[in-house]
Subunit: 277 residues, 5 copies
């Protein structure tokens, strides 16, 4: 976890804590593996076409979407959708690299003055919170004020995230219910029309499809996404917390060694940094 950048190095040497966006292997891989195994069992069974039925898809997916929207609002649904995409295609944050970057910034600010931060704003463009913080520091906002504003922002983000998690949990609750409703519709239709016994089997098969879709959506899609989103939120909040600490420390022109000590109190043990030796 040692930094390759020399203490007090140039802008080009600023550690970039986040690599380019990539799919989350565990989440996408795990979901695809589970779906693939189920798909394989379907194909091995010989008639995969029997597992596709447009009205069943409509009832379960459309119904779950409709009821979940009714529980929240269109705005919330949009935010949840973007949050899901960001959960799947997320840059794995690296807390110790983030800490190194913050210590470098603090050291530069200490040596060359707070206004030098201007040159590093573009380096932190992909961390909107840190960008906003440094901007405030450059504008001369006092440390306490900047910290207060950023904490409010962090809290608002956490709330938005937790609402997205609620939406996914609600969808995981509604989709099996929609599956059951679809199956009841199919069963009632079949039972009211038992004249030709040869149609009973296929009709029941179609009726069960919605239960199958509902169970699949809840367990293979919504539940893992909700769990993963909760886990990622905890990680992101750690990084956000560090950005707040660093901004306040820079604004107060404190010794960067003190910032290192503070960052290490929130970093998990395996991620702690020892930048100043």
């Amino acid at each position: 976890m040692a930094s390759e950048a020399e203490p007090g190095g140039q802008r080009s040497a600023l550690t970039q804590p986040q690599t380019r966006t990539a799919v989350d292997v565990a989440t996408i891989g795990g979901m695809i593996a589970a779906a693939g195994l189920i798909g394989m069992a379907i194909v091995l069974g010989g008639s995969p076409g029997a597992f596709i039925d447009a009205p069943a898809v409509m009832i379960v997916i459309g119904g779950t979407f409709g009821v979940t929207t009714a529980c929240f609002s269109l705005t919330d649904m949009g935010i949840a959708f973007r949050t899901v995409l960001r959960t799947i295609l997320r840059a794995q944050p690296n807390p110790s690299q983030a800490a190194i970057q913050l210590l470098q910034l603090a050291q530069i600010a200490r040596h060359r003055g707070i206004l030098s931060m201007q040159n590093y704003l573009t380096s932190v463009e992909n961390s909107p919170l840190l960008y906003q913080g440094l901007q405030m520091v450059i504008d001369g906002t006092p440390g306490d004020e900047a910290e207060r504003i950023m904490r409010r922002e962090v809290q608002a983000r956490a709330q938005r995230r937790s609402r997205s998690v609620s939406i996914l949990r609600k969808a995981a609750e509604i989709s099996p219910a929609m599956g059951l409703i679809g199956t009841l519709v199919g069963l009632i239709q079949m039972l009211g029309n038992l004249d030709d016994p040869s149609t009973i089997g296929p009709s029941m098969a179609v009726a069960l499809l919605t239960t199958f879709y509902g169970a699949l959506l809840a367990n293979v899609v919504f539940t893992p996404l909700a769990s993963k989103m909760e886990r990622n939120t905890a990680e992101d909040m750690l990084i956000n917390h560090m950005h707040v600490m660093a901004t306040a420390s820079i604004a107060r022109q404190e010794n960067p060694r003190r910032l290192e000590m503070l960052l290490n109190t929130v970093l998990p043990p395996s991620e702690r940094v020892d930048y100043f030796g």
Copy 2:
């Protein structure tokens, strides 16, 4: 979120934070979409008449209503019914416009004296809490006293709302149970009378109808309404909280800039206002 009204503007310029009442698109739309998809599957199945059965409707809807009433009281049921209507046909409150209106009032009260509020009472008629607050201010009730009385009122409203949410949650719990009870009645009747095999199918179809109704009521009606009501209550409480803050501030004749700062601490970041520049 900037105000079009000039600071210190006339009564006609007072920002009206709430537009006219309209249906909640997400809730009504989502519920109708889900019900529509299920209805379409029923119609496509060919015999929609098989899905309507008066005794089944009576057992599930009547039974759920009866048991839910037994859990609460007639008064509570009436309040819950009105709260449901207000959830469906609600004016979307706009916190930042509400804040602007309050700042305008505070500024007018500052410039022209507290008694000038008399002219603006009609403008806030659709916010009973604010109306009551301004009335107290005009009557010379001290700020602390007015704040205490209004807080008690806000708390009483929150309690009434939370009881209405409980009623909907209880109904969502009871309706599938009523569906099961109806299906058991139908099954027992059918099983005791198996002489004519051709009637088994239709009898079972009718027996399953109550389960279908129960699942539909719980998942497509009661659960989304309860969730939405809880969400709206949180929003309304924010507005109420702002009205209390503003009334107390006006009664104490504080600087409206201080009120702006206070309001911004409770407003979500995207709704914060910058009225005095």
Copy 3:
């Protein structure tokens, strides 16, 4: 909510806050309505006799009673039984009338001295807590001491009530389980004896009866009673709380206007009183 009694009126003018005991319309009506709708569906089905089976009744009602007793004790069961009766046949307490009565007592005590309370003991006989409190006041127990003793009594009552609610909740949990056990007994008996196919239907019908009874008991009887008892406890605790406040105030010979203010802080807004104008 204005009092008809003149302030300082005679004993005969003392407001009686509780009218005579009457059945709780919402609870009894709701339960009867739900049961009636189910009964109607049974009668319409043509063979209501098929829904009565002595062993099924014994397993579900007797089993639920036995297991619930095993979870608690005979004393608890007796208390719960009496509490259920009092829930069904309860006097609707009227908090604002109770407040008026207390203010009248406080005013009389103020004008004619504490010993005059002796004449009003019979008027409060149906409020054992208030009776006990006034008795202590007459005996010269200091206000703090009386308040402490009464608070302990109120807490003990709340505990007894909450245990009765637990018993009903436990019974609502056990009765469907007993229904399932009875159905399993019936199914196992039927399956071990399939020689005559014509008996399969009626045997299964009888087997399902216990599930039906269990669902009915849990959802139409125990759950509403438990919910209602919890709700009533909250109301009764409010009245008890007011009695404690008033007794302490009388014992301390405080100004009745102060008692009015105190009572209004615990009364819900719609029940607040304005006795002294």
Copy 4:
């Protein structure tokens, strides 16, 4: 609840608060009544032998025991077993008699000195905690120290009890699951071997037996025992708490009247004592 023993009476007059051990009528009676009603329904059905099946018993009872042991440890299981026995065959503690006994001891200690407690140790042999406390008092342990040691002991007992309750709750959760597993084994065996239709009924009957056993164990055995154990623990903790109070009071040579007041603050209202008049 008055004491027959004269204040200051001799050792022979010491009230013995606990009568001899006896079965808990409510628990044993309730469980036997529920099981008896189910048994009667089985016998009335004609073929009780069909309800006994060795492999089914092994899967459900053995499996539940095995999995529950795996969740805890052999030591825990032993403690839980002994606690269950003590729950069934327990002496009903009588808090007010226990209080009288403690007040007698306190009075004797006050009149004849702490060393006189030596003569009463055998009288309290069946209350190990009180025995240990008096032993410490005789040995001259200061009141605070004795209280601290006894409180730690009480806490350790409460923890052991709560672990036993957890074991019973876990068993109540595992036994229906074991019943389901057994039924699935039976169904799979039956379905793989449908050649002789006459065996289908009896095979399914046997398959359902494990579900029946699992439901019976969970609802008629484990759940009531767990509930009762929790309830008894609360009562025993009250007695333990009183023993700690009394020991500390004796060690500090306080006035027994003060102890009476202290004991009355923890006793439920109906059990309060008035020993010194």
Copy 5:
């Protein structure tokens, strides 16, 4: 629980609190007993081969693994896997022997100086936390600092453990859902292809296999492992807590008698030590 080592004994006399690693008899034994009883019922039924089906195994085990991974991350899964192994093959910690060892170390440090701890480092190699602590003591880290660092380490371990427990609980939740999904796949395939009635039984048997696997995995594997891991964590945390206390005490060169008193406050009563008589 008395120590065989003489107070102040040589290094060779240092009590070794942990015997060699061995399987946890209760956990492994309980799980094997439960699985064995189920296996026996399968073998007695005559066709054990019918209970093995590769696609069913793949859907349930693979699917559960995939979805659980998607909920967490690959790193978490690795840690959970190692924690499970350590739960099964764990050394039963002996708190009182651990306490004796710590008191011996404290006494030696007191008599021969802190640097003498160097000779005992190898004796505590299998307690990494204690090893790290003594190392810090030898290096002259002050007591408060060492305590702070170790507490952070203990907290990080507790968090890692609790995440592993969550993974097992999630797997116990997902595996029955995967079993249901597999059964639905099998049922839909069977129902779509009812031409040859002789295949219905075996097809349904195969379809039920996934439900069977799911129930087995959840109840016989994941749930007991999760419960046991939680229980072990509590025990390990006790030992860790004692190591922190002892290290801080040695670093502060306190009297070992004080350490004994401190250790006894956290040890359960049956494990308390009396090393210094």
